[in-house]
């Protein structure tokens, strides 16, 4: 089974702190994603990466950056956390090879619930 793990289930930070959210997948997937999930808004894509050191902005990248130094690990960075970044953050990965055939399924981690005070 594909396993996507996130470093913390719950995290509480102060406004202005630098925050790192870590995600690791163990299936040699090409693609990794960071979403935030808010009630009534569903999941919104922050950033995704299709290869090591490669990244693309999603729909809501402002206030976030990412890092992918190794294939299995994708980090989300909040340079200066703000209260409006209080949310559930979900990481996902997908193989990438089945994209054109539509068989490319995204596998999700358990999520990190971040509270910024």
């Amino acid at each position: 089974d594909v396993k996507v793990t996130q470093s913390s289930r719950y995290l509480v930070k102060r406004t202005g702190e630098k925050v790192f959210l870590e995600c690791v997948q163990d299936m040699d997937h090409e693609n990794m994603f960071w979403y935030r999930q808010d009630p009534g808004l569903g999941l919104r894509l922050i950033y995704f990466s299709y290869d090591v050191k490669m990244k693309e902005k999603g729909d809501i990248p402002e206030g976030y950056s990412v890092s992918r130094e190794k294939k299995e690990r994708f980090s989300l960075i909040l340079e200066s956390a703000s209260t409006n970044q209080t949310s559930m953050y979900l990481c996902a990965s997908s193989p990438g090879q089945g994209l054109l055939m539509g068989t490319d399924t995204q596998y999700f981690g358990p999520g990190t619930r971040l509270t910024v005070l």
């Binding site: 569903g42 994209l99 999700f108 358990p110």
Partner: protein, 114 residues
């Protein structure tokens, strides 16, 4: 830009009965994929079912089936013989052919009453 709309924030159903969750989407593309994901309480999101837009036949996975109406841009999920373990948030999602990005709806919280 593509959008996905789930107009039912919450639904409830009696155990063993059938429930249908609604999803509509907006796109100008002709080739795309549609998905239903399930997020149980405090558990990871998992894929329930997938539909390719070029296929006329509706996808089915055991008790889960979809009603895909391409012209109407509608993609509803039917759960038959509802079980307590079906209680979850359900998200409808869209992906354009050849793209990586998933576009999600707002989600529907399904409650199963024993």
């Amino acid at each position: 830009a593509q959008t996905v709309t789930q107009s039912q924030p919450e639904m409830s159903v009696q155990e063993a009965e059938t429930v249908t969750l609604s999803c509509t989407y907006d796109t100008s593309e002709s080739d795309y994929y549609l998905f239903w994901y399930k997020q149980p309480p405090s558990r990871q999101m998992i894929l329930v079912i997938r539909q390719e837009a070029y296929k006329q036949q509706n996808a089915t996975e055991n008790r889960f089936s979809v009603n895909f109406q391409k012209a109407a841009k509608s993609f509803s999920l039917k759960i038959s013989d509802s079980q307590l373990g079906d209680a979850a948030m359900y998200f409808c999602a869209y992906r354009r052919f050849g793209a990586q990005k998933l576009v999600f709806g707002q989600g529907t919280r399904l409650t199963i009453n024993p």
